[in-house]
Symmetry: C4
Subunit: 232 residues, 4 copies
């Protein structure tokens, strides 16, 4: 392993290890990548390797064509989806795909997660979007690239930095952020939002969405120009 | 850090660390304050700092005007809600706000948690109350103070020492107690009550409330003049 | 502490510590007693003491009149319910009361847990029974003794050794066994049965009970004259 | 203990210990066997021994007639079901039976688990099948052998290597694989699939199955001739 990508591999590794630590996946489910936009490369988890056998040296460095730049193992089978997201969405430094239980449960219904409360509005100002179910001809094509395209299509009128997560219908969640650590944070928040929404929906199937004024207030409190949450 | 507020900061810190230990919040969600009524100051968690990086020295000491008396960091964005509660409710020594999963799931329905059983009645003698959804003009004002006012409004005909918890509609739970430790205890009990009520409601949507005689008996067994639970 | 009841206190203590270990209660909820039928005394948890501060020396030894024979603290407020069960049911060596989440969720519906599967039938050959809701006049009397009487009433035509658990309507579960360890085992099994039945009921509200032949087979495989489960 | 079956016993023991580690069963529920097809023997968990008291030397070696070849204890009461599966399904090296909570919850409804998403399709290309409820005359016969026969009957038109799991109606799941480790993996995946399907069904009772093209794609990505998942 060269020293060139050491820091990038370390970042990807640390973020991947958060997946089991946060209970977001079992066995080999899920993968995180860290992106170096200047060099045009990402470091990503190898395919099918369980978290408890993973090391930073196992991370694979791949360019935006999908070519392996460094690494002994085969990269995650979802690598091309990550690439589409980095190529299409500006400002992304990390992408995460998991099969976390509640977010996947919602993705399997093929419907967005309604914005029921402020936990949700603290992180995005709309329902968690859900893509269309992939058409058979797209499935037969370059499947992982098509998955990325579906997400892009779903975000045609959305700002991916304001809505840093999506459900792929019948599949599961993707989340992203300015770096890999933030991307995993968003994936964990999505799982918690999905759990709360499941509870709300089960208690009261007709529960109302949070009024717009409250959505705006909570989102801006953390993300707006006059944000006053946190230490900066 | 001066020695003046050391004990108050320690108390606030210990109570804040109970939040992740009891599984009541992830990341930075949730905050606890400890109140020194004689000095008119509270110690509270800093805004946006994760529990695993928190120390007692990070606690912020704030007066009832919201002015920072001691501390390097910015206090929790919910500080003004805590202040309203201390200023309005007598006998409070601690206040907790969490986004615990089941209590938040109920808060998102905008309805009280029905008093279905004795676990609930051991701690309060009525449904867990739920505030109104905040009106847009209040949201646009001093939001965190307005949140406090909504709770006060909801408790106009209630004794906050007998009902030490509330759901803020579309948001999440607040709980309190004679000290910060007791406040976190009430927050944890609320989450458990919310979980049990979710189960009861899902099994049998028309489940009946606990009869008044049983509510009274259980509440008085622990809190009445002839209480005989515990060691005092 | 005398040596006379050391072994009994130890047994009660060990069984009580299984309550938090098995996730059957938070804080001070729940209590276990161990019975010495020859001496006519039971050792039970003190009232309101959290599990993480409990020691074997804290156990209280009480006779069947409810008189404290040995111990510095006040016994569990549910002691008289335990006494009624030991006095009325032959062969009991341990009694447990918890507020475990799913069993309590069912108790709050006031209905028995249907015998949906073999996990259930391995332990009892009928629905988990549920008492009537206590009438107001009984509540006003000796409440804990009345709770015991309700259970006895519910078991008028039942064999408590074949059905070692019950739901007290609006309250929570009691379980028992030939010794305190077995009683806690039955309480943990009840919680698991309650969880499975919650899932079955939610997926398919009209799910059928297990046919009688299968109920009989599973129960007898473990408990019948020709039992062939286990090592004896 | 002879050295002859040491490796087989070790393999069975390691796989059995995964059951509590993965949260698939409490107490003595569940059992795993490892099969040595050349010698025609399997090593299996002893009946009724809790996992925390289990050692590799406790494993029982049994032949396909059910005769104990080596071991001091009585083998799992489910041994004959394991034997039927090894005798009927080619290529099996491990069999697992658990009472894992969500899979059992589904088994108790007597219905298959619909293939709602790609987590499911990554492992099998159809609903998780569910046997018929056993008829009374079969129950009265050699019960454990009959359980095996029911599974065989259910797989008359199925490939057990492509669908490595089943629900026994009113009872619980069985899973298998090319070795004991893979069998436990499949049992854990089944529990996770069952959990996700519970959530999907509860949110939206009419949720659609995953379209065939996606089912095929995901299954073949991992198991087809052109599989490209993992490191081989």
């Amino acid at each position: 392993m060269s020293a060139t990508y050491r820091e990038l591999r370390e970042r990807a590794f640390t973020a991947n290890m958060e997946i089991p630590r946060r209970g977001l996946a079992i066995y080999t489910f899920g993968n995180v990548s860290a992106f170096d936009r200047d060099r045009g490369v990402l470091a990503i988890k190898p395919s099918g390797v369980p978290y408890d056998r993973l090391s930073a040296d196992d991370m694979i460095v791949v360019d935006l064509e999908g070519k392996v730049v460094e690494g002994r193992l085969r990269p995650s089978s979802d690598t091309r989806t990550h690439i589409v997201l980095y190529a299409s969405f500006r400002g992304l430094g990390g992408v995460v795909h998991t099969h976390s239980t509640y977010a996947t449960g919602w993705a399997q219904t093929g419907t967005p997660i309604p914005i029921y409360g402020t936990t949700h509005a603290d992180h995005l100002a709309e329902d968690v979007p859900c893509t269309e179910v992939m058409r058979p001809d797209a499935v037969e094509g370059d499947y992982e690239t098509e998955t990325g395209k579906q997400i892009i299509e779903c975000f045609r009128d959305r700002n991916p930095l304001h809505t840093p997560m999506v459900l792929v219908a019948g599949h599961g969640p993707f989340a992203w952020g300015e770096d890999a650590e933030k991307a995993v944070y968003n994936a964990a928040v999505l799982e918690e939002i999905a759990r709360m929404a499941f509870i709300t929906r089960t208690i009261h199937p007709g529960a109302a969405r949070l009024p717009d004024a409250l959505v705006r207030k909570h989102f801006d409190r953390k993300h707006g120009k006059k944000a006053y949450y946190g230490q900066k």
